[in-house]
Subunit: 423 residues, 2 copies
């Protein structure tokens, strides 16, 4: 049985421990919600202040050139590329995950409309994050396609001649279950489909190699494991085999804003998509939020000399294994049911437990004690373990508090049962 | 003939002069580019720092509730509403102008597809800002519609039985010519069309009354006259008569992201649009950039006790009248041709001159002297006059520099002829 001393010893031996120094972490808080909003990089406040006071305030419009604002989508995209197995100039930062998903899903559907118009089905996971489903629902409706939602184990049975696009989130936001990206990509493509991966809970959390998997398109989120700040812009990737098709008819994404144009400052009336992945840029990027995102991505890249995603993954598995074991020891009999795979090879960097009753209030009681996880309706207690800054002693302390909340029944108090807008 | 003393006297009498104190303006700069990127509000640095260090850094995920992040799209939208003749809860801040235009144009086309499917034409202005045309081109192509681009004077002739949507930018980005919003809206609607206005160069620049005009949809930009910071999020408005139609089939906008859902935190798999204009929200907003935008919008609202848009408009016209008169006096014979209407009633808050040769280099030479305007290909020298902070002495000084640049021919130097990415 793991003891508090064991946890302290694991921290003492952790080669990644110095990475925690990159962050401003509030006193008295055990933060297990980096899968919802990552923490503040130490560099971000000064960098954002410089963008505001000098680049905007003093240099004004000139900063589009002199401060490199105009290159941010590509510059930050290239940094993210190193975390997801993408190549140079294959990733752009732009808009939100939802908007980017709309772009890549439309592009994929357009390719299929030309190449295989008889394919009328989009398959996704029933418990995929809702925004992904809503975007797919919208496009399916507009184009008279079928959006088929299935359980993870049912996916292979739906990779057939009707399938146009398989659209999955690599790591499920509720359960933390991770799909086998290379295998599903291969199987779907062998069936003639295109494959889109949403990396919202993967980028910076688990090893991803988009090019090795041969995926078609991907999108992802800047404000979770990448620590890019609240509502940080998202990213989009497309396989070179698609973006090198320069014919706009074949790879058309409909959000044809001016910064995705081949020559935006020529102000010509006709749209001509930019080369490569740049055509997935649309309007003017929110520069201040982009600057914070870059600081966040840099905290991930700082792990590369220490073993990068391989080392982070090793620690992530150790953290989540320890958390699962401790909860099952210390909170036995309290009705918590593990939702996350026990098999670490198909687990993301989070652990979720379901509880029939009181999940929201239990999480509120934990938060009142300084242990921040989150609740996902209807019944999921979700804990994120971001190996850049979460320690084994944090795992110990959070389980200690969870056990006390459950043993003492404090979550039954009215103040913990009042729902807030965001949980 | 206006003298330097006249300009100083006009500044001394200007009741709006104190509003300039709201901004951090760099020394030695005459900034006539607030129609491209507004200047830094004094409050923004501290506000953004607080969002970063306290709201994000200390309060983390809780700030979605405790700091009101979740309400930002509506809260800032309600402030912008007061500047454009919109009602409470009729405006949301979200995404970029390009993305918002895609939403409202699709919504309008969907309404027409139901009500008048024989209407197959979108009319816009040939020299509308390209991103507007690119978005319309994309939708026209997808739906087999015709995008018809015409000159401003030709618009009335195209308001016929084929017209689905009239989509115009209220004030043209090149010429500064302002359309008659009430008249064109009425004429187009009488012909059975819906009308969309892009307020990029209007919001905060000229009086706008969307509800009085009875327009159908509008979008606008946060980083120009609203001083919201580089790439600040944009806004969207829809007439209540449309958003009160709750049937999603009738008013469908395809960027159906989770924050435009009626109950985003119920995480249900089916999309159900939020009430009213909230359905035009899509993904998670870039909070840091949103906070800066709110500071910018507040600088506009600070003008309301001093007469608001009416007083700002009076000053704007005086500034642009003075600039036109001085340029035509001091720079006569240098080949500058006024592109902006001489009639102030159809002029926005900018003045543009065309010059057959050297426009780019002339602007670079002016910028080197600290007078910042911009160049718009192929031949436009563009000067923005934002009455919140531009003074009459700035008008005088900028014309003085322009005359010197032209008289002395310094713009012919090689260093002024090297093109940068953004101009």
């Amino acid at each position: 049985m793991t003891t508090r001393q064991d946890c302290l010893a694991l921290d003492a031996q952790d080669p990644l421990a110095p990475l925690r120094e990159q962050f401003e972490l509030p006193d008295g808080v055990t933060y297990l919600d980096g899968n919802s909003l990552g923490v503040l990089p130490r560099t971000a406040a000064a960098r954002v202040a410089d963008v505001v006071t000098r680049e905007w305030g003093q240099d004004l419009i000139r900063s589009w050139n002199t401060a490199g604002w105009i290159d941010m989508p590509q510059r930050i995209g290239n940094k993210i590329a190193r975390l997801i197995g993408a190549g140079e100039n294959e990733v752009v930062v732009a808009d939100s995950t939802s908007v980017n998903l709309f772009k890549v899903l439309t592009a994929a559907l357009n390719l299929q409309r030309t190449d295989a118009p008889q394919r009328k089905v989009i398959v996704s996971e029933r418990h995929n994050f809702p925004t992904d489903l809503y975007i797919a629902e919208s496009l399916a409706r507009e184009r008279g396609l079928v959006l088929r939602l299935v359980e993870p184990d049912e996916i292979p049975a739906h990779l057939d001649d009707d399938l146009a696009v398989l659209m999955l989130t690599h790591v499920n936001y509720r359960t933390g279950r991770m799909h086998d990206m290379p295998a599903l990509t291969r199987q779907a493509q062998e069936a003639g489909a295109l494959v889109i991966w949403d990396l919202a809970h993967s980028a910076g959390a688990v090893p991803v190699d988009l090019n090795a998997a041969g995926a078609d398109f991907a999108v992802g989120c800047g404000y979770k494991y990448l620590n890019g700040g609240p509502g940080a812009p998202a990213f989009a990737w497309a396989h070179r085999s698609h973006t090198e098709v320069m014919d706009a008819e074949q790879l058309w994404q409909p959000l044809s804003g001016w910064l995705g144009h081949a020559a935006p400052f020529e102000f010509t009336p006709d749209y001509r998509p930019a080369a490569g992945v740049n055509r997935f840029i649309c309007g003017t990027p929110p520069v201040i939020s982009m600057a914070a995102l870059e600081c966040g991505v840099d905290t991930m890249l700082a792990a590369q000399p220490l073993g990068g995603m391989t080392a982070l993954r090793r620690k992530s598995i150790a953290l989540t294994d320890t958390f699962i074991a401790l909860v099952e020891q210390r909170c036995a009999g309290h009705g918590l049911t593990l939702q996350t795979p026990r098999d670490a090879s198909i687990r993301g960097s989070q652990v979720s437990f379901a509880r029939e009753e009181g999940g929201y209030a239990i999480m509120q009681a934990l938060i009142a004690r300084g242990v921040i996880g989150d609740f996902r309706a209807p019944d999921i207690l979700r804990f994120g373990f971001t190996p850049l800054y979460v320690r084994f002693i944090d795992v110990w302390n959070s389980v200690e508090h969870l056990a006390q909340v459950l043993d003492g029944g404090e979550w039954r108090e009215a103040r913990f049962n009042q729902r807030a807008a965001v949980t």
